[in-house]
């Protein structure tokens, strides 16, 4: 009990006591502390602002430089005819804008069917007999005369070759079985146009165009499938005709 009273007395006496430190004690505490973080934060803040501004300037420079690079190929794309629109490599060939004489009028347009000039026809060959106007439904592909003028001699030669090929086919067909139907002439022109476009695309593009490849493959598949159908029909017709002839005999 006595010890408890002694403890209480001492605890009470010392527990309430305070001693004022010397005046320079705080400076000594301060000297032992690390530098205030606010200074570091200010340095980081300033550095961050400077880095952000530099980053924005660099990105802006790169952005405008890239924009200039993107426009450069068009300026070197060769002479462009008035009204001719630039076609991006990603644009499908079927959707490529074609120059028409009437501009960009929507819906069916009455126009002249492409026919070769008399001077372009080979000697001894006859020109196609139909030169009258036809109505283009708008879904039909454009004629060969709507192709933009060839920029290089290779393309001009290709077009010339295609024209001669079409004329030769028409003449040969007329020699064999008379006149061709409009749909057959249109089909010949469409095929020639597709081949010219594919050739041009292959020359202009250094990279592989997936749409061009797909279009080419579809054309080949369509042609082979059509040929197979014709062969089947022809075989069936021959078989029926032979059977009828045998029966009559």
């Amino acid at each position: 009990m006595a010890r408890t009273e002694l403890d209480k007395t001492i605890r009470k006496a010392l527990g309430q006591r305070t001693i004022a430190p010397t005046s320079d004690a705080w400076e000594r505490v301060q000297a032992g502390l690390p530098a205030p973080r606010r200074m570091f934060r200010a340095v980081y803040y300033t550095s961050g602002v400077a880095a952000t501004i530099a980053g924005i300037l660099i990105l802006s420079f790169l952005y405008f430089q890239d924009s200039g690079v993107g426009e450069t190929p068009e300026s070197f794309a060769g002479p462009q005819q008035p009204g001719q629109e630039a076609r991006t490599p990603q644009q499908p060939l079927a959707d490529a804008p074609l120059r028409t004489e009437e501009g960009s009028q929507p819906g069916p347009v009455e126009r002249q069917v492409a026919t070769p000039e008399p001077g372009e026809i080979a000697a001894g060959q006859q020109a196609p007999s139909r030169r009258g106007p036809v109505v283009d439904s708008g879904m039909e592909p454009k004629g060969q005369t709507e192709e933009p003028p060839a920029a290089d001699p290779a393309e001009a030669l290709l077009i010339q070759a295609k024209v001669e090929e079409v004329v030769a086919r028409v003449n040969a067909a007329e020699r064999e079985g008379g006149q061709l139907a409009d749909a057959e002439v249109e089909q010949l022109l469409r095929d020639a146009r597709q081949e010219i476009l594919a050739e041009r695309s292959a020359r202009q593009q250094t990279t592989v165009d997936a749409m061009a490849l797909l279009s080419e493959v579809e054309t080949d598949l369509d042609r082979s499938f059509r040929d197979q159908i014709f062969e089947k029909l022809k075989a069936g017709y021959t078989r029926v005709r032979t059977a009828i002839a045998d029966r009559n005999n």
């Binding site: 006496a13 006591r17 001693i19 430190p21 010397t22 705080w26 505490v29 301060q30 973080r37």
Partner: protein, 190 residues
């Protein structure tokens, strides 16, 4: 020393001090330094050395302030740091010697009127104790540590801690009793 209260909320004050704000750190220092110097003085006889220990303790307080979880009193947290700093400093200087040879005494009669004793005289009596006695006595009686904690802090056994406390009490009772008798002969303390 006048304490100017800039931050009324203790948590906000601690948060500012953690962020490195010198004004908040100084406010904490000025609020607790007199009390903490008194605590250091309980363990260390030399007042200059006690102040050095307090300064080192405050440096550790501000460095480790982000580890304070607000689970107890902030003053208690600072106080524990100060006590450990004082013990560590004394042990570094090899002031602490635990006297196992000291004979035990029967507890004497409780001197009346101890509550009237001045703190300075009590402090002088504690200062007169051997370092081992004094440390165990202050840790147990003034700061409220248990013998197991004291044994862990000082690297001694619990029995040694109890023995040192018993001896310290005997010596203090004798000193205070003689002081009381002396004081009644000259003047009354209080």
């Amino acid at each position: 020393m006048k304490i100017i209260s800039i931050y009324s909320d203790e948590k906000a004050l601690i948060r500012k001090a953690i962020a490195g704000r010198r004004d908040a750190q100084r406010q904490i220092y000025e609020q607790y330094a007199p009390r903490m110097l008194s605590i250091c003085r309980q363990y260390i006889r030399d007042p200059h050395f006690a102040e050095d220990v307090m300064i080192q303790g405050f440096v550790k307080v501000f460095i480790k302030l982000d580890s304070f979880r607000h689970e107890g009193s902030f003053e208690g947290w600072i106080r524990r740091i100060m006590v450990r700093e004082a013990i560590s400093s004394l042990r570094k200087k090899q002031f602490v010697v635990f006297d196992e040879e000291h004979a035990s005494f029967e507890p004497s009669v409780d001197p009346a009127g101890e509550s009237e004793l001045q703190a300075e005289y009590i402090q002088s009596c504690i200062d007169a104790l051997p370092e081992g006695y004094k440390m165990v006595f202050v840790l147990h009686v003034v700061d409220g540590y248990q013998h197991a904690e004291i044994a862990g802090m000082l690297g001694i056994s619990e029995g040694t801690s109890r023995s040192q406390l018993f001896k310290a009490r005997q010596v203090l009772q004798e000193q205070l009793k003689s002081y009381k008798n002396q004081a009644y002969g000259t003047h009354r303390i209080g």
